[in-house]
Symmetry: C2
Subunit: 165 residues, 2 copies
Amino acid sequence: MKVSFSTIGYIRSPFHQTEGMPIQPSGAKDVEGTVKVNAMYAAGLTDIEDFSHIILIYVFHKSEGFQLQVKPFLDDNVHGVFATRAPRRPNPIGLSIVELLRRDGNVLLVKGVDVLDSTPLLDIKPYVPGFDVFQVSSVGWLEKKEHQAKTQKSDRRFETNHFNR
Amino acid sequence: MKVSFSTIGYIRSPFHQTEGMPIQPSGAKDVEGTVKVNAMYAAGLTDIEDFSHIILIYVFHKSEGFQLQVKPFLDDNVHGVFATRAPRRPNPIGLSIVELLRRDGNVLLVKGVDVLDSTPLLDIKPYVPGFDVFQVSSVGWLEKKEHQAKTQKSDRRFETNHFNR
């Protein structure tokens, strides 16, 4: 089944290429960016400034095609793409939780941005611990590795023509 | 900008209508469901069974059109749709974190399902506290209300032709 969406705006960030980018917001804690929502959707942002964190759902626009088995940045072993956060997915949809510093009309100033500049935005949701925080009992291959996301930088492996088999 | 995705499978749940459904996984803690991933993507699930929780990104397929200002289930006041988790959004994309009990090939048995039966699936990501858990300082209008999501049930207000202005 095909589904079609229209982007609602885009994300500005200091990252103009994947190489050297943080791989998760935890590695981009102090990086500020802006979320520019199309003026026609501005009314949908009412009261969002009362939340300290928001969920951004966006398109990995520099990722083309997909791999079902990938070697993620944080591991030397291959895993199924759905067991990773790698961008070359069947549907290249990204998800980041960022801190919301301020809203100026249809522009949000955010912190903890780990996406490429001009990333097309699909949706914004409020981040609510009562809905979004779960006690996990296992994090698979990321066990003892998730903290490395704070320092690990991206390389070009998930760009088009940079296959990693 | 238009973006087009192909669903990768669908979610089975005991909920055949929006009325009376839980509004968040926290209100569906013991509700089991299955995630059926198309066989062509099965290899992408490798190692996912090692995670206790996963993020499902899906289409609110019974939601048509959108409202920029909505009165959510948990409040009597109107808010911008991006400050709510309501389904009638410009892009009807849903996000739920569920417990993963088991994988049988391309079928995942999950718990804490708060979606309609046959919900079209767009993506699965591992839920990783190091990436997905943040200390918030405010949750806006949901302050003192988020716990109500455990008991509050849905009604038909976000279905087509059930406008709520």
